[in-house]
């Protein structure tokens, strides 16, 4: 490049940066005064509401869908709209457009009197109720069960305890099995120092703030770095929209039922019972080896919440002959939502699930 052209290019860059600086001022005011963007835009109807569970059915987007409906089970700490953020950025919309009949089991905050809900209630009863409602609504006996994060844990426990069905396919997104590998959470809940009984007995349900703080501790500098990056990109409407949607979701964390939390700490973090094949629900042993249905498990290479070391054992523990585990680039959230997921996970899952949904 000639010296003249280079100087002109630098001048253009400086001009662009000055324009962005002006826009930052204008957009910054807009940011502070405008409401957060709407999320969860796909049309849906509430099919069933009981306790903290809400079962939604999304409006089909094609005239001819796959025979087997898809039931997504959300993580109990987070809202399901992460999978339906905005048109063009929605996993739900993608699956609807690719011919799936989509249902979602989403959660809301447990009430104070629901503090005694246990893992059994979520994995055995709520998921069973949702599956039954999906069967009734769709008229189909078979259902694909797909769980994200702890929704995946509940899904594998349900499938293991109900080998007779109706789960036809099992899909898991970043689902932990070896809880000792969730290092910070494991260390924070160290049985020598963490008195979970006093904690739960004193609080009832575990507040959302406690859960948000523990997630923030995993990446203590990321919130500040995110805000600095926002300032740099505040001239860019699309960036700001995405940032606000993700920030809203991150802060919209749910409290956990006290007993559910106590059981998670004792059975999973302390005794690692799923990994060590000693898990019991309602007094019955639940072993991952009882799972024989086709399994697809997606793990994120840079997942700081559920690292691959915690999730990778699922595939070897089930007895399914038809199983696939993929390790994709991305983090805990970018695995399932955002630009990376659109290119990587979604088409991969569609290819795998389509032929198993007829």
């Amino acid at each position: 490049m000639s010296e003249g052209a280079k100087s002109a290019d630098v001048a253009d860059r400086i001009k662009a940066e000055v324009e962005r600086a002006v826009l930052r001022g204008i957009k910054g005011v807009e940011y502070l005064t405008s409401p957060a963007p709407a999320v969860g835009p796909s049309a849906k109807e509430l099919l069933l509401a009981r306790g903290p569970m809400m079962l939604y059915h999304y409006r089909p987007m094609v005239e001819n869908v796959y025979r087997v409906p898809l039931l997504i089970v959300m993580a109990t700490t987070n809202r399901g709209y992460i999978l339906d953020l905005a048109p063009g950025q929605s996993f739900v919309e993608f699956m609807l457009k690719h011919g799936y009949d989509v249902y979602m089991l989403d959660w809301k905050a447990p009430k104070p009197e629901e503090k005694s809900l246990k893992i059994e209630d979520y994995a055995l009863r709520f998921i069973a109720d949702a599956l039954h409602a999906v069967q009734k609504d769709s008229g189909e006996k078979d259902v694909t069960l797909a769980g994200y994060c702890f929704g995946g844990v509940l899904s594998i426990l349900h499938a293991a305890a109900n080998a007779q069905g109706p789960v036809k396919n099992l899909v898991c997104f970043t689902t932990p099995v070896d809880f000792t590998q969730l290092r910070l959470f494991h260390n924070l809940s160290d049985r020598r120092y963490f008195d979970v009984d006093s904690f739960v007995d004193g609080l009832g349900n575990v507040p959302a703030e406690t859960i948000v703080s523990s997630f923030d501790m995993l990446r203590p500098a990321s919130r500040l770095a995110g805000q600095l990056q926002l300032w740099e990109n505040i001239w860019n409407d699309e960036y700001v929209k995405s940032y606000r949607m993700m920030q809203r979701w991150g802060n919209d964390t749910l409290p956990l039922a006290g007993e559910y939390f106590r059981q998670t700490v004792k059975d999973l973090f302390w005794d690692n019972k799923i990994f060590e094949d000693r898990m019991t629900l309602d007094g019955r042993r639940v072993s991952l080896s009882a799972i024989t249905v086709p399994l697809f498990h997606a793990i994120a290479e840079h997942d700081h919440i559920v690292p691959p070391e915690a999730a990778k054992h699922l595939i070897e523990r089930v007895s399914s002959s038809d199983k696939e585990q993929v390790m994709l680039k991305g983090g805990h959230v970018s695995l399932v939502a955002g630009a990376n997921a659109i290119k990587r996970l979604w088409p991969h899952l569609d290819k795998w699930l389509g032929m198993r949904s007829v």
Binding site: V65, Y66, P112, L188, D190, D195, A221
Partner: protein
């Protein structure tokens, strides 16, 4: 096109990125240490104990004055939010039931369920 060296904000971007990465990495190492767990839980336990004692004293004091405590006001607020949520669920369920009654069981249009993986042209 300008190279990275011509980008006036490249230094800023790199600094933010490496700051985030270094602080997160150092914090994670610190948090994996046993003493972190011990200290953190001792602190949390002491803070919870102190908070509970303080709450008890305040509760007695406010009860004497016949005034509600902050936690009671918060409980009422949570209750109201739950009631609002239940009302909106009821409205939604009623709408579903109403639509089912009017449309002979059809709410959303019921698609056929014969799709094959190679089906095309339905987007």
């Amino acid at each position: 096109m300008a190279g990275a060296s011509d980008d006036p904000l490249a230094f800023w971007r790199n600094m933010v990125s490496s700051l985030e990465s270094n602080v997160n990495s150092a914090s994670n190492k610190l948090m994996e240490a046993e003493h972190f767990s011990k200290t953190m839980n001792q602190f949390a336990s002491a803070a919870t104990g102190a908070q509970n004692s303080f709450n008890e004293i305040m509760e007695r004091y406010l009860s004497t004055l016949n005034l509600p405590t902050a936690s009671q006001v918060k409980d009422i607020s949570v209750r109201l939010a739950v009631i609002e949520g239940q009302l909106s669920e009821l409205v939604s369920l009623l709408q579903v039931a109403d639509a089912a009654g009017q449309g002979a069981g059809e709410r959303f249009p019921r698609p056929s369920r014969a799709r094959r993986p190679d089906a095309e042209g339905e987007k």
